[in-house]
Amino acid sequence: MNLVLEAKNINKHFHKPKDFHVLKNISFGVKQGEFASIMGKSGSGKSTLLYILSTMDTDYTGELSINNQLVTGKSQRELSQIRNKNIGFVFQFHYLLSEFSVLENVMLPAKKLAEKSHAEIEKDAHRKLEMLHIGHLAHQRASRISGGEKQRVAIARALINDPTILMGDEPTGNLDSHNSENVFNIFKNLKEEQGLSLLVVTHDEDFAKRTDRIIQMEDGMIIGH
Protein backbone atom coordinates (compact mmCIF):
# COMPACT_ATOMS: atom_id res chain seq x y z
CA MET A 1 0.00 0.00 0.00
CA ASN A 2 1.01 3.56 -0.65
CA LEU A 3 3.14 5.16 2.10
CA VAL A 4 2.27 8.80 2.75
CA LEU A 5 5.07 9.18 5.26
CA GLU A 6 8.29 7.24 5.37
CA ALA A 7 11.24 7.59 7.75
CA LYS A 8 14.54 5.80 7.08
CA ASN A 9 17.30 5.50 9.69
CA ILE A 10 16.52 8.69 11.49
CA ASN A 11 19.05 9.63 14.17
CA LYS A 12 19.07 12.71 16.32
CA HIS A 13 21.38 14.04 18.99
CA PHE A 14 20.73 16.72 21.55
CA HIS A 15 23.97 18.67 21.91
CA LYS A 16 23.09 20.62 25.02
CA PRO A 17 23.69 20.39 27.91
CA LYS A 18 25.70 17.32 26.84
CA ASP A 19 25.58 15.01 23.85
CA PHE A 20 22.56 12.76 24.06
CA HIS A 21 21.50 10.28 21.38
CA VAL A 22 17.75 10.84 21.53
CA LEU A 23 16.57 8.97 18.40
CA LYS A 24 18.31 5.80 17.28
CA ASN A 25 17.83 4.42 13.76
CA ILE A 26 14.14 5.11 13.48
CA SER A 27 12.58 3.60 10.36
CA PHE A 28 8.86 3.20 9.76
CA GLY A 29 6.06 4.33 7.47
CA VAL A 30 2.46 5.47 7.65
CA LYS A 31 0.13 4.11 4.99
CA GLN A 32 -2.58 5.97 3.16
CA GLY A 33 -5.69 6.05 5.33
CA GLU A 34 -3.97 4.64 8.40
CA PHE A 35 -4.62 5.88 11.94
CA ALA A 36 -1.36 5.30 13.81
CA SER A 37 -0.40 6.31 17.32
CA ILE A 38 3.00 6.63 18.92
CA MET A 39 3.21 5.66 22.58
CA GLY A 40 6.02 5.73 25.03
CA LYS A 41 7.16 7.10 28.36
CA SER A 42 8.22 10.67 28.84
CA GLY A 43 11.67 11.13 27.39
CA SER A 44 11.38 8.20 25.02
CA GLY A 45 11.76 10.64 22.11
CA LYS A 46 8.26 10.31 20.67
CA SER A 47 7.53 14.04 20.48
CA THR A 48 11.02 14.71 19.14
CA LEU A 49 10.32 12.20 16.39
CA LEU A 50 6.98 13.80 15.60
CA TYR A 51 8.53 17.24 15.17
CA ILE A 52 11.12 15.79 12.80
CA LEU A 53 8.33 14.08 10.83
CA SER A 54 6.45 17.37 10.72
CA THR A 55 9.51 18.96 8.98
CA MET A 56 9.75 21.67 11.64
CA ASP A 57 12.91 20.14 13.12
CA THR A 58 15.63 19.72 10.52
CA ASP A 59 18.52 18.86 12.82
CA TYR A 60 18.73 15.10 12.20
CA THR A 61 20.37 12.49 9.98
CA GLY A 62 18.51 9.97 7.88
CA GLU A 63 15.85 10.33 5.24
CA LEU A 64 12.27 11.53 5.46
CA SER A 65 9.81 11.28 2.58
CA ILE A 66 6.29 12.66 2.37
CA ASN A 67 4.09 11.43 -0.49
CA ASN A 68 7.13 9.53 -1.84
CA GLN A 69 8.99 12.76 -2.14
CA LEU A 70 12.25 13.20 -0.24
CA VAL A 71 11.99 16.25 2.02
CA THR A 72 15.31 15.88 3.85
CA GLY A 73 17.70 18.64 2.82
CA LYS A 74 15.09 20.99 1.39
CA SER A 75 15.26 24.70 2.20
CA GLN A 76 13.19 26.19 5.02
CA ARG A 77 11.10 27.94 2.42
CA GLU A 78 10.20 24.72 0.62
CA LEU A 79 9.60 22.96 3.93
CA SER A 80 7.12 25.60 5.06
CA GLN A 81 5.29 25.13 1.79
CA ILE A 82 5.17 21.38 2.33
CA ARG A 83 3.84 21.90 5.87
CA ASN A 84 1.30 24.33 4.57
CA LYS A 85 -0.02 22.02 1.88
CA ASN A 86 0.50 18.47 3.13
CA ILE A 87 0.62 18.43 6.91
CA GLY A 88 -2.07 19.33 9.40
CA PHE A 89 -0.88 19.70 12.99
CA VAL A 90 -2.82 19.56 16.25
CA PHE A 91 -0.98 20.34 19.49
CA GLN A 92 -1.65 19.63 23.13
CA PHE A 93 -2.52 23.30 23.47
CA HIS A 94 -4.75 24.79 20.82
CA TYR A 95 -2.38 27.65 19.87
CA LEU A 96 -5.08 29.73 18.24
CA LEU A 97 -4.29 33.35 17.43
CA SER A 98 -6.32 35.05 20.14
CA GLU A 99 -6.88 38.37 18.35
CA PHE A 100 -8.51 36.70 15.36
CA SER A 101 -11.98 35.25 15.02
CA VAL A 102 -12.47 31.49 14.89
CA LEU A 103 -13.16 31.70 11.18
CA GLU A 104 -10.03 33.73 10.46
CA ASN A 105 -7.92 31.27 12.45
CA VAL A 106 -9.19 28.42 10.34
CA MET A 107 -8.75 30.36 7.09
CA LEU A 108 -5.17 31.55 7.66
CA PRO A 109 -3.26 28.49 6.36
CA ALA A 110 -5.46 28.41 3.24
CA LYS A 111 -4.89 32.11 2.65
CA LYS A 112 -1.17 31.44 2.89
CA LEU A 113 -1.48 28.62 0.36
CA ALA A 114 -3.47 30.98 -1.88
CA GLU A 115 -4.73 28.26 -4.21
CA LYS A 116 -8.35 29.29 -3.84
CA SER A 117 -10.22 32.55 -3.84
CA HIS A 118 -11.15 34.24 -0.58
CA ALA A 119 -14.81 33.28 -0.99
CA GLU A 120 -13.97 29.62 -1.58
CA ILE A 121 -11.66 29.56 1.43
CA GLU A 122 -14.39 31.04 3.58
CA LYS A 123 -16.86 28.45 2.35
CA ASP A 124 -14.36 25.66 3.05
CA ALA A 125 -13.71 27.00 6.54
CA HIS A 126 -17.43 27.11 7.29
CA ARG A 127 -17.78 23.54 6.06
CA LYS A 128 -14.94 22.30 8.26
CA LEU A 129 -16.43 24.07 11.27
CA GLU A 130 -19.85 22.62 10.53
CA MET A 131 -18.35 19.17 10.23
CA LEU A 132 -16.89 19.54 13.73
CA HIS A 133 -20.24 20.92 15.01
CA ILE A 134 -18.84 24.37 15.86
CA GLY A 135 -20.23 26.30 12.90
CA HIS A 136 -22.09 28.62 15.25
CA LEU A 137 -18.79 29.85 16.75
CA ALA A 138 -17.36 31.07 13.43
CA HIS A 139 -17.49 34.77 14.24
CA GLN A 140 -16.47 34.54 17.92
CA ARG A 141 -13.09 35.75 19.02
CA ALA A 142 -10.78 32.73 19.40
CA SER A 143 -10.07 33.74 23.01
CA ARG A 144 -13.77 33.64 23.97
CA ILE A 145 -14.58 29.95 23.48
CA SER A 146 -14.12 26.91 25.74
CA GLY A 147 -11.10 24.60 25.77
CA GLY A 148 -12.83 21.71 23.99
CA GLU A 149 -14.14 24.08 21.34
CA LYS A 150 -10.71 25.58 20.86
CA GLN A 151 -9.22 22.16 20.21
CA ARG A 152 -11.90 21.49 17.60
CA VAL A 153 -11.11 24.84 15.95
CA ALA A 154 -7.44 23.81 15.91
CA ILE A 155 -8.45 20.58 14.15
CA ALA A 156 -10.48 22.54 11.61
CA ARG A 157 -7.44 24.73 11.02
CA ALA A 158 -5.27 21.64 10.51
CA LEU A 159 -7.75 20.32 7.94
CA ILE A 160 -8.37 23.47 5.93
CA ASN A 161 -5.85 22.68 3.16
CA ASP A 162 -6.99 19.02 2.94
CA PRO A 163 -3.58 17.71 4.05
CA THR A 164 -2.12 14.29 3.24
CA ILE A 165 -1.52 13.53 6.88
CA LEU A 166 -2.74 14.92 10.18
CA MET A 167 -0.26 14.88 13.05
CA GLY A 168 -1.13 15.32 16.68
CA ASP A 169 1.12 15.92 19.68
CA GLU A 170 -1.04 14.72 22.57
CA PRO A 171 -4.11 16.41 21.11
CA THR A 172 -6.25 15.15 23.98
CA GLY A 173 -3.65 15.68 26.69
CA ASN A 174 -5.30 18.80 27.95
CA LEU A 175 -8.94 17.80 27.61
CA ASP A 176 -11.42 16.10 29.94
CA SER A 177 -12.67 12.61 29.06
CA HIS A 178 -15.79 13.87 27.31
CA ASN A 179 -13.87 16.18 25.02
CA SER A 180 -11.14 13.56 24.52
CA GLU A 181 -13.78 11.14 23.31
CA ASN A 182 -15.07 13.83 21.01
CA VAL A 183 -11.67 14.46 19.48
CA PHE A 184 -11.05 10.73 19.05
CA ASN A 185 -14.36 10.34 17.24
CA ILE A 186 -13.52 13.23 14.97
CA PHE A 187 -10.21 11.60 14.06
CA LYS A 188 -11.88 8.26 13.51
CA ASN A 189 -14.48 9.82 11.23
CA LEU A 190 -11.83 11.67 9.24
CA LYS A 191 -10.04 8.39 8.63
CA GLU A 192 -13.16 6.44 7.77
CA GLU A 193 -15.04 9.02 5.77
CA GLN A 194 -12.22 10.89 4.05
CA GLY A 195 -9.41 8.34 4.09
CA LEU A 196 -7.12 10.74 5.94
CA SER A 197 -3.86 9.38 7.37
CA LEU A 198 -3.26 10.22 11.02
CA LEU A 199 -0.22 10.00 13.25
CA VAL A 200 -0.83 10.86 16.90
CA VAL A 201 1.57 10.93 19.83
CA THR A 202 -0.29 10.12 23.02
CA HIS A 203 0.04 9.09 26.64
CA ASP A 204 -3.55 7.90 26.74
CA GLU A 205 -3.59 4.13 26.48
CA ASP A 206 -7.36 3.89 25.85
CA PHE A 207 -6.96 6.34 22.99
CA ALA A 208 -4.04 4.42 21.50
CA LYS A 209 -5.71 1.04 21.76
CA ARG A 210 -8.53 2.11 19.52
CA THR A 211 -6.20 3.22 16.69
CA ASP A 212 -5.18 0.99 13.78
CA ARG A 213 -1.61 0.65 14.91
CA ILE A 214 0.47 1.49 17.98
CA ILE A 215 4.11 2.38 17.52
CA GLN A 216 5.77 1.76 20.88
CA MET A 217 8.90 3.74 21.67
CA GLU A 218 11.48 3.45 24.40
CA ASP A 219 14.83 5.16 24.84
CA GLY A 220 14.80 6.58 21.33
CA MET A 221 14.04 3.28 19.63
CA ILE A 222 10.91 1.75 18.18
CA ILE A 223 10.34 -1.44 20.15
CA GLY A 224 7.18 -2.56 18.49
CA HIS A 225 4.70 -1.69 15.78
Binding site: S47, Y51, S54, M56, D57, Q76, R77, S80, Q81, R83, N84, K85, F89, F91, Y95, L96, L97, E99, F100, L108, P109, K111, K112, L113, A114, R157, A158, N161, D169
Partner: protein, 420 residues
Protein backbone atom coordinates in the same frame (compact mmCIF):
# COMPACT_ATOMS: atom_id res chain seq x y z
CA UNK B 1 5.64 33.47 -3.11
CA UNK B 2 4.50 36.16 -0.71
CA UNK B 3 0.86 36.73 -0.05
CA UNK B 4 0.75 40.39 0.90
CA UNK B 5 -2.93 40.64 1.69
CA UNK B 6 -2.59 37.90 4.33
CA UNK B 7 0.57 39.44 5.79
CA UNK B 8 -0.90 42.93 5.88
CA UNK B 9 -4.11 41.54 7.37
CA UNK B 10 -2.21 39.94 10.25
CA UNK B 11 -0.07 43.06 10.73
CA UNK B 12 -3.18 45.23 10.83
CA UNK B 13 -4.88 42.98 13.38
CA UNK B 14 -1.78 43.11 15.60
CA UNK B 15 -1.68 46.88 15.40
CA UNK B 16 -5.38 47.32 16.09
CA UNK B 17 -5.50 44.94 19.05
CA UNK B 18 -2.40 46.53 20.59
CA UNK B 19 -3.82 50.01 20.16
CA UNK B 20 -1.95 51.53 23.08
CA UNK B 21 1.50 50.45 21.92
CA UNK B 22 0.65 51.36 18.35
CA UNK B 23 -0.44 54.85 19.36
CA UNK B 24 2.67 55.33 21.52
CA UNK B 25 4.99 54.25 18.73
CA UNK B 26 3.13 56.32 16.14
CA UNK B 27 3.19 59.42 18.32
CA UNK B 28 6.93 58.94 18.79
CA UNK B 29 7.41 59.17 15.03
CA UNK B 30 4.85 61.95 14.72
CA UNK B 31 6.58 64.17 17.25
CA UNK B 32 10.00 63.38 15.81
CA UNK B 33 8.97 64.32 12.28
CA UNK B 34 6.76 67.20 13.41
CA UNK B 35 9.60 68.71 15.44
CA UNK B 36 12.00 68.19 12.55
CA UNK B 37 9.71 69.97 10.07
CA UNK B 38 8.99 72.84 12.46
CA UNK B 39 12.60 73.26 13.46
CA UNK B 40 14.04 73.07 9.99
CA UNK B 41 11.38 75.37 8.48
CA UNK B 42 11.87 77.96 11.19
CA UNK B 43 15.66 77.76 11.22
CA UNK B 44 16.03 77.94 7.46
CA UNK B 45 13.45 80.72 7.35
CA UNK B 46 15.51 82.64 9.86
CA UNK B 47 18.71 81.88 7.98
CA UNK B 48 17.11 83.00 4.75
CA UNK B 49 16.02 86.27 6.33
CA UNK B 50 19.47 86.95 7.72
CA UNK B 51 21.03 86.03 4.39
CA UNK B 52 18.72 88.45 2.61
CA UNK B 53 19.49 91.13 5.15
CA UNK B 54 23.19 91.00 4.45
CA UNK B 55 23.58 89.38 1.06
CA UNK B 56 21.02 91.45 -0.81
CA UNK B 57 22.91 94.53 0.20
CA UNK B 58 26.06 93.09 -1.21
CA UNK B 59 26.54 93.23 -4.95
CA UNK B 60 27.71 90.07 -6.67
CA UNK B 61 30.89 91.85 -7.64
CA UNK B 62 32.09 95.08 -6.10
CA UNK B 63 34.80 97.00 -8.00
CA UNK B 64 36.81 99.76 -6.37
CA UNK B 65 40.31 101.14 -6.05
CA UNK B 66 42.02 99.80 -3.01
CA UNK B 67 44.54 101.83 -1.09
CA UNK B 68 47.58 99.58 -0.71
CA UNK B 69 51.32 99.58 -1.12
CA UNK B 70 52.82 98.71 -4.49
CA UNK B 71 53.52 95.04 -4.83
CA UNK B 72 56.88 95.69 -6.46
CA UNK B 73 58.96 98.41 -4.91
CA UNK B 74 61.03 100.44 -7.41
CA UNK B 75 64.31 99.07 -6.14
CA UNK B 76 63.32 95.55 -7.20
CA UNK B 77 63.05 96.73 -10.75
CA UNK B 78 66.61 98.00 -10.78
CA UNK B 79 68.67 95.37 -12.58
CA UNK B 80 71.95 96.05 -10.81
CA UNK B 81 70.53 95.02 -7.43
CA UNK B 82 68.89 91.93 -8.83
CA UNK B 83 71.06 89.54 -6.81
CA UNK B 84 71.13 91.70 -3.70
CA UNK B 85 68.95 91.47 -0.63
CA UNK B 86 66.94 94.71 -0.48
CA UNK B 87 65.37 96.10 2.67
CA UNK B 88 62.77 98.84 2.40
CA UNK B 89 61.53 100.37 5.64
CA UNK B 90 58.35 102.38 6.26
CA UNK B 91 56.56 101.47 3.09
CA UNK B 92 53.65 103.82 2.39
CA UNK B 93 50.56 103.09 0.37
CA UNK B 94 50.87 103.94 -3.26
CA UNK B 95 49.62 107.37 -4.22
CA UNK B 96 46.49 106.55 -6.11
CA UNK B 97 43.30 108.24 -7.11
CA UNK B 98 40.13 107.06 -5.43
CA UNK B 99 38.12 107.12 -8.60
CA UNK B 100 38.00 104.18 -10.93
CA UNK B 101 39.98 104.99 -14.03
CA UNK B 102 37.83 104.95 -17.17
CA UNK B 103 34.70 104.22 -15.16
CA UNK B 104 32.24 105.11 -17.91
CA UNK B 105 33.76 102.84 -20.59
CA UNK B 106 33.98 100.04 -18.01
CA UNK B 107 30.29 100.51 -17.22
CA UNK B 108 29.24 100.41 -20.84
CA UNK B 109 31.42 97.30 -21.35
CA UNK B 110 29.79 95.61 -18.36
CA UNK B 111 26.29 96.45 -19.47
CA UNK B 112 26.92 94.59 -22.73
CA UNK B 113 28.41 91.54 -20.99
CA UNK B 114 26.11 88.49 -21.42
CA UNK B 115 26.26 87.42 -17.75
CA UNK B 116 25.63 90.87 -16.28
CA UNK B 117 22.14 91.79 -15.16
CA UNK B 118 23.18 95.29 -14.39
CA UNK B 119 26.08 97.47 -13.27
CA UNK B 120 25.63 100.61 -11.22
CA UNK B 121 28.15 103.35 -10.54
CA UNK B 122 28.51 104.70 -7.02
CA UNK B 123 30.41 107.55 -5.55
CA UNK B 124 31.24 107.31 -1.88
CA UNK B 125 32.13 110.56 -0.24
CA UNK B 126 33.27 111.24 3.31
CA UNK B 127 31.14 114.05 4.66
CA UNK B 128 29.93 115.63 7.88
CA UNK B 129 26.29 116.14 8.75
CA UNK B 130 25.88 119.50 10.41
CA UNK B 131 23.32 120.00 13.10
CA UNK B 132 23.85 123.36 14.67
CA UNK B 133 27.40 123.33 15.94
CA UNK B 134 27.53 119.55 16.00
CA UNK B 135 29.29 117.70 13.18
CA UNK B 136 28.43 114.07 12.67
CA UNK B 137 30.87 112.11 10.57
CA UNK B 138 29.46 109.90 7.89
CA UNK B 139 29.33 109.20 4.24
CA UNK B 140 27.13 110.07 1.35
CA UNK B 141 26.69 107.62 -1.48
CA UNK B 142 25.89 108.94 -4.89
CA UNK B 143 23.80 106.41 -6.79
CA UNK B 144 21.73 105.96 -9.91
CA UNK B 145 18.66 105.36 -7.77
CA UNK B 146 16.41 103.86 -10.47
CA UNK B 147 19.07 101.27 -11.41
CA UNK B 148 19.64 100.51 -7.72
CA UNK B 149 15.93 99.85 -7.26
CA UNK B 150 16.01 97.48 -10.21
CA UNK B 151 19.08 95.59 -9.06
CA UNK B 152 18.97 95.59 -5.25
CA UNK B 153 16.45 95.60 -2.45
CA UNK B 154 17.07 99.26 -1.62
CA UNK B 155 13.37 99.96 -2.13
CA UNK B 156 12.52 97.75 0.89
CA UNK B 157 14.83 99.86 3.00
CA UNK B 158 13.37 103.23 2.06
CA UNK B 159 10.93 103.40 4.95
CA UNK B 160 9.66 106.87 4.16
CA UNK B 161 9.53 108.63 0.82
CA UNK B 162 10.10 107.05 -2.57
CA UNK B 163 13.09 106.45 -4.87
CA UNK B 164 11.34 108.55 -7.53
CA UNK B 165 11.30 111.54 -5.19
CA UNK B 166 15.10 111.33 -5.01
CA UNK B 167 15.40 110.96 -8.76
CA UNK B 168 13.31 114.09 -9.32
CA UNK B 169 15.16 116.28 -6.86
CA UNK B 170 18.73 117.20 -7.69
CA UNK B 171 19.27 118.38 -4.13
CA UNK B 172 17.50 115.47 -2.48
CA UNK B 173 18.94 113.08 0.07
CA UNK B 174 17.77 109.74 1.50
CA UNK B 175 18.88 110.21 5.08
CA UNK B 176 19.94 107.26 7.23
CA UNK B 177 17.30 106.47 9.87
CA UNK B 178 19.78 106.68 12.74
CA UNK B 179 20.97 110.07 11.56
CA UNK B 180 17.40 111.34 11.16
CA UNK B 181 16.67 110.33 14.73
CA UNK B 182 19.87 111.85 16.12
CA UNK B 183 19.28 115.16 14.40
CA UNK B 184 15.46 115.10 14.87
CA UNK B 185 14.87 115.46 11.15
CA UNK B 186 12.10 114.10 8.98
CA UNK B 187 10.92 114.21 5.38
CA UNK B 188 10.75 117.70 3.94
CA UNK B 189 13.36 119.12 6.33
CA UNK B 190 16.72 120.36 5.16
CA UNK B 191 20.05 118.99 6.33
CA UNK B 192 23.38 120.69 5.85
CA UNK B 193 26.38 118.65 4.92
CA UNK B 194 29.98 119.58 4.74
CA UNK B 195 32.63 117.99 2.57
CA UNK B 196 36.08 117.13 3.88
CA UNK B 197 37.32 120.18 2.03
CA UNK B 198 34.93 122.34 4.07
CA UNK B 199 32.29 123.27 1.49
CA UNK B 200 28.78 123.34 2.91
CA UNK B 201 25.68 122.26 0.98
CA UNK B 202 22.05 122.20 2.06
CA UNK B 203 20.12 119.10 0.94
CA UNK B 204 16.41 118.37 1.11
CA UNK B 205 15.34 115.17 2.84
CA UNK B 206 13.13 113.26 0.38
CA UNK B 207 13.21 109.93 2.18
CA UNK B 208 14.50 107.93 5.14
CA UNK B 209 16.72 104.91 4.61
CA UNK B 210 16.77 102.10 7.16
CA UNK B 211 18.78 98.94 6.38
CA UNK B 212 18.25 97.40 9.80
CA UNK B 213 21.97 97.42 10.49
CA UNK B 214 22.55 100.27 12.95
CA UNK B 215 26.17 100.84 11.95
CA UNK B 216 25.06 101.70 8.45
CA UNK B 217 21.93 103.67 9.36
CA UNK B 218 23.92 105.91 11.71
CA UNK B 219 26.37 107.09 9.06
CA UNK B 220 25.15 106.50 5.55
CA UNK B 221 22.82 108.46 3.30
CA UNK B 222 22.08 108.35 -0.41
CA UNK B 223 21.87 111.09 -3.02
CA UNK B 224 21.92 111.19 -6.79
CA UNK B 225 25.27 110.43 -8.37
CA UNK B 226 25.59 113.82 -10.07
CA UNK B 227 24.57 115.63 -6.87
CA UNK B 228 27.49 114.09 -5.06
CA UNK B 229 29.80 114.71 -7.99
CA UNK B 230 28.76 118.36 -7.87
CA UNK B 231 29.26 118.54 -4.10
CA UNK B 232 32.78 117.19 -4.45
CA UNK B 233 33.44 119.42 -7.42
CA UNK B 234 34.26 116.49 -9.65
CA UNK B 235 33.35 115.69 -13.23
CA UNK B 236 30.71 113.26 -14.45
CA UNK B 237 33.14 110.38 -14.85
CA UNK B 238 34.16 110.45 -11.20
CA UNK B 239 32.97 107.12 -9.81
CA UNK B 240 34.59 105.32 -6.87
CA UNK B 241 32.67 102.02 -6.90
CA UNK B 242 30.94 99.84 -9.46
CA UNK B 243 28.43 97.28 -8.22
CA UNK B 244 27.61 94.41 -10.52
CA UNK B 245 24.69 92.01 -10.38
CA UNK B 246 25.13 88.85 -12.39
CA UNK B 247 22.64 86.53 -14.00
CA UNK B 248 24.58 83.49 -12.81
CA UNK B 249 25.94 84.08 -9.33
CA UNK B 250 28.24 81.05 -9.52
CA UNK B 251 30.32 82.95 -12.08
CA UNK B 252 31.07 85.76 -9.62
CA UNK B 253 34.45 84.50 -8.45
CA UNK B 254 36.15 83.87 -11.84
CA UNK B 255 34.59 86.99 -13.27
CA UNK B 256 35.89 89.12 -10.40
CA UNK B 257 39.38 87.78 -11.05
CA UNK B 258 39.22 88.53 -14.77
CA UNK B 259 37.84 92.05 -14.16
CA UNK B 260 40.71 92.70 -11.75
CA UNK B 261 43.23 91.78 -14.45
CA UNK B 262 41.41 93.56 -17.23
CA UNK B 263 40.85 96.93 -15.56
CA UNK B 264 43.53 96.96 -12.86
CA UNK B 265 41.06 97.55 -10.01
CA UNK B 266 40.12 95.61 -6.91
CA UNK B 267 37.07 93.35 -7.51
CA UNK B 268 35.50 91.51 -4.59
CA UNK B 269 32.99 88.76 -5.27
CA UNK B 270 30.05 88.00 -3.03
CA UNK B 271 31.48 84.83 -1.50
CA UNK B 272 34.69 86.53 -0.54
CA UNK B 273 32.80 89.43 1.02
CA UNK B 274 30.49 87.18 3.04
CA UNK B 275 32.65 84.18 3.85
CA UNK B 276 32.06 84.47 7.58
CA UNK B 277 28.34 84.74 6.95
CA UNK B 278 28.24 81.45 5.04
CA UNK B 279 30.01 79.78 7.96
CA UNK B 280 27.35 81.02 10.35
CA UNK B 281 24.54 79.69 8.15
CA UNK B 282 26.23 76.35 7.76
CA UNK B 283 26.70 75.91 11.49
CA UNK B 284 23.07 76.83 12.18
CA UNK B 285 21.98 74.25 9.61
CA UNK B 286 24.26 71.69 11.20
CA UNK B 287 22.68 72.28 14.61
CA UNK B 288 19.20 72.01 13.13
CA UNK B 289 20.01 68.67 11.55
CA UNK B 290 21.77 67.34 14.64
CA UNK B 291 18.72 68.08 16.81
CA UNK B 292 16.28 66.70 14.23
CA UNK B 293 18.19 63.49 13.71
CA UNK B 294 18.39 62.99 17.47
CA UNK B 295 14.63 63.35 17.68
CA UNK B 296 14.11 60.84 14.89
CA UNK B 297 16.54 58.35 16.38
CA UNK B 298 14.70 58.54 19.70
CA UNK B 299 11.47 57.84 17.84
CA UNK B 300 13.18 54.93 16.10
CA UNK B 301 14.21 53.41 19.41
CA UNK B 302 10.62 53.70 20.59
CA UNK B 303 9.46 51.61 17.65
CA UNK B 304 12.29 49.14 18.18
CA UNK B 305 11.27 48.67 21.81
CA UNK B 306 7.60 48.25 21.15
CA UNK B 307 8.13 45.78 18.33
CA UNK B 308 10.56 43.81 20.47
CA UNK B 309 7.96 43.56 23.21
CA UNK B 310 5.27 42.66 20.74
CA UNK B 311 7.37 39.87 19.31
CA UNK B 312 8.08 38.59 22.80
CA UNK B 313 4.36 38.51 23.52
CA UNK B 314 3.60 36.88 20.19
CA UNK B 315 6.19 34.07 20.40
CA UNK B 316 3.48 31.42 20.39
CA UNK B 317 1.62 33.02 17.52
CA UNK B 318 4.85 33.15 15.55
CA UNK B 319 5.51 29.49 16.30
CA UNK B 320 2.04 28.45 15.18
CA UNK B 321 2.22 30.54 12.03
CA UNK B 322 5.44 28.76 11.18
CA UNK B 323 3.96 25.36 12.06
CA UNK B 324 1.02 25.94 9.74
CA UNK B 325 3.23 26.81 6.82
CA UNK B 326 4.24 30.46 7.06
CA UNK B 327 7.95 30.81 6.25
CA UNK B 328 10.44 32.80 8.32
CA UNK B 329 10.33 35.52 5.65
CA UNK B 330 6.52 35.75 5.93
CA UNK B 331 6.77 36.22 9.68
CA UNK B 332 9.50 38.82 9.22
CA UNK B 333 7.36 40.70 6.73
CA UNK B 334 4.42 40.69 9.17
CA UNK B 335 6.48 42.60 11.74
CA UNK B 336 8.25 44.75 9.16
CA UNK B 337 4.85 45.72 7.80
CA UNK B 338 3.80 46.83 11.27
CA UNK B 339 6.90 49.00 11.65
CA UNK B 340 6.43 50.54 8.22
CA UNK B 341 2.72 51.15 8.80
CA UNK B 342 3.64 52.95 12.03
CA UNK B 343 6.27 54.89 10.06
CA UNK B 344 3.87 55.92 7.31
CA UNK B 345 1.07 56.89 9.68
CA UNK B 346 3.35 58.64 12.18
CA UNK B 347 5.34 60.26 9.40
CA UNK B 348 2.36 61.78 7.61
CA UNK B 349 0.81 62.92 10.88
CA UNK B 350 4.20 64.44 11.70
CA UNK B 351 4.23 66.32 8.40
CA UNK B 352 0.76 67.67 9.17
CA UNK B 353 1.74 68.72 12.69
CA UNK B 354 4.98 70.21 11.38
CA UNK B 355 3.05 72.16 8.75
CA UNK B 356 0.52 73.33 11.35
CA UNK B 357 3.20 74.51 13.76
CA UNK B 358 5.17 76.20 10.97
CA UNK B 359 2.00 77.97 9.91
CA UNK B 360 1.43 79.09 13.50
CA UNK B 361 4.97 80.45 13.76
CA UNK B 362 4.60 82.09 10.36
CA UNK B 363 1.62 84.03 11.68
CA UNK B 364 3.17 85.03 14.98
CA UNK B 365 3.88 88.78 15.01
CA UNK B 366 7.57 89.61 15.09
CA UNK B 367 8.28 93.29 14.93
CA UNK B 368 11.65 94.81 15.44
CA UNK B 369 13.10 98.16 14.52
CA UNK B 370 16.10 96.46 13.08
CA UNK B 371 14.00 94.78 10.40
CA UNK B 372 11.50 97.20 8.95
CA UNK B 373 10.13 94.81 6.32
CA UNK B 374 9.48 91.87 8.68
CA UNK B 375 6.18 91.65 10.50
CA UNK B 376 6.00 87.94 11.41
CA UNK B 377 8.56 85.25 12.15
CA UNK B 378 10.11 84.00 8.93
CA UNK B 379 9.33 80.39 7.99
CA UNK B 380 10.61 78.54 4.99
CA UNK B 381 7.89 76.28 3.52
CA UNK B 382 10.14 74.16 1.36
CA UNK B 383 8.79 70.86 0.00
CA UNK B 384 12.24 69.29 0.20
CA UNK B 385 12.11 69.23 4.00
CA UNK B 386 8.76 67.47 3.93
CA UNK B 387 10.22 64.92 1.55
CA UNK B 388 13.29 64.42 3.77
CA UNK B 389 11.00 64.12 6.80
CA UNK B 390 8.84 61.35 5.38
CA UNK B 391 11.87 59.59 3.91
CA UNK B 392 13.60 59.62 7.28
CA UNK B 393 10.45 58.38 9.02
CA UNK B 394 10.31 55.42 6.65
CA UNK B 395 14.01 54.66 6.83
CA UNK B 396 14.19 54.86 10.63
CA UNK B 397 11.09 52.72 11.13
CA UNK B 398 12.44 50.27 8.58
CA UNK B 399 15.68 49.90 10.52
CA UNK B 400 13.86 49.83 13.86
CA UNK B 401 11.55 47.14 12.51
CA UNK B 402 14.20 45.13 10.73
CA UNK B 403 16.17 44.07 13.80
CA UNK B 404 13.27 42.69 15.89
CA UNK B 405 11.58 41.17 12.84
CA UNK B 406 14.77 39.40 11.98
CA UNK B 407 14.63 37.85 15.44
CA UNK B 408 11.05 36.75 14.78
CA UNK B 409 12.19 35.20 11.52
CA UNK B 410 14.72 33.05 13.34
CA UNK B 411 12.43 31.82 16.13
CA UNK B 412 12.44 28.02 16.22
CA UNK B 413 8.78 26.93 16.42
CA UNK B 414 9.66 23.55 17.95
CA UNK B 415 11.36 25.23 20.91
CA UNK B 416 8.37 27.44 21.58
CA UNK B 417 5.74 24.75 21.14
CA UNK B 418 7.58 22.19 23.24
CA UNK B 419 8.34 24.84 25.82
CA UNK B 420 12.06 24.14 26.03
Amino acid sequence: MINWSVILGIAKTHLVTKMKSTVTATLGVTFGIGAYITLVSFMTGLNGMLDDLVLNQTPHIHMYNEIRPSETQPISRYQEFKDAMNFVHSIKPKQNQEKIHNALPILSYLKKHPNVRGATPQLRAQIFYLSGSIELGGNLVGVDIIEEVRLSNIQDNIVEGTPEALKNNTNGILLGAGLAEKMSLSIGDRVQISTVAGDIFPLKIVGIYQSGIAEIDNVQSFANLNTVQRILGESENYVTDINIKLLNIAESEPMARSLEKQFNVKAVDINEANAQFETGSNIRNLITYAVSITLLIVAGFGIYNILNMLIYEKMKDIAILKATGFSGKDVQYIFMAQAILIGILGGFLGLLIGFGLSHLIDNTPFETDALPTITTYPVNFNGTYYFIGIAFALISTFVAGYLPSNRAKKIDPVKIIRGT
